[in-house]
């Protein structure tokens, strides 16, 4: 299904400045694959060899996907995805 994805400032150069884009997929992984088709380079900003990047947070509606099923989290009609890089440092 087609859902909306909120893009954080730091990734907007990849989406031509758009902060809200559409994507398709029944799981988060499928949505990321679909985003990559339209916005090449975005996938590697979100995912690395071990899965969802440690300092990237992705939410389906109000839930952090790390508390759901990670990249296998189901995406339903009218769901909304928000991507927020962690605010962290040392």
């Amino acid at each position: 299904m087609t859902i909306e994805v909120r893009i954080p400032t730091i990734l907007r150069p990849l989406t031509s400045g758009e902060k809200l884009v559409s994507a398709q997929g029944a799981t988060l992984q499928e949505v990321v694959n679909d985003l990559e088709l339209n916005y090449p380079g975005i996938s590697e900003r979100l995912i690395d060899e071990s899965g969802l990047r440690r300092f990237i947070n992705i939410y389906v509606n109000d839930e952090d996907v790390r508390f759901l099923s990670g990249l296998q989290s189901a995406i339903g009609e009218n769901d909304s995805i928000t991507i927020l890089p962690a605010v962290a440092g040392g």
């Binding site: 928000t82 890089p85 962290a88 040392g90």
Partner: protein, 143 residues
Amino acid sequence: MLFGMLEIQRSLVDAIVAHARADHPDEACGVIAGPIGSDRPERLIPMVNAVRCPTLYEFDSMDLLRLYREMDDRDEVPVVIYHSHPATQAYPSRTDITQASEPDAHYVVVSIRETGPAEGPFEFRSFRIVDGEVTEEQVSILE
């Protein structure tokens, strides 16, 4: 605000330093939100350091979502992202540089290494961190 400068109210500086002292020996962290496009830090939002560590900070992921939703509702952005260094200088660490994810924010680092949780001298410095490059900027404190 001129490019290369952070203008900030004295009361906000004092509040950040107080937060740093209160969270000693852990790093304190938070945001000052301001209207989109204004570059004015207006609304202080101290955050919980979810890793409670003297050398690392991170916002809890749900706190982060609530923060960004709230700023979005109010047409605000994070103008300042601040954290403290309880025992080291007020300069971005390598972790600070690699983790900086808001290219438009002023990254403020406060050091309380001289007196720890007690009153006394502190260092308050501001930086832009973009694509791994750190540029220090002048801090202008408005009384």
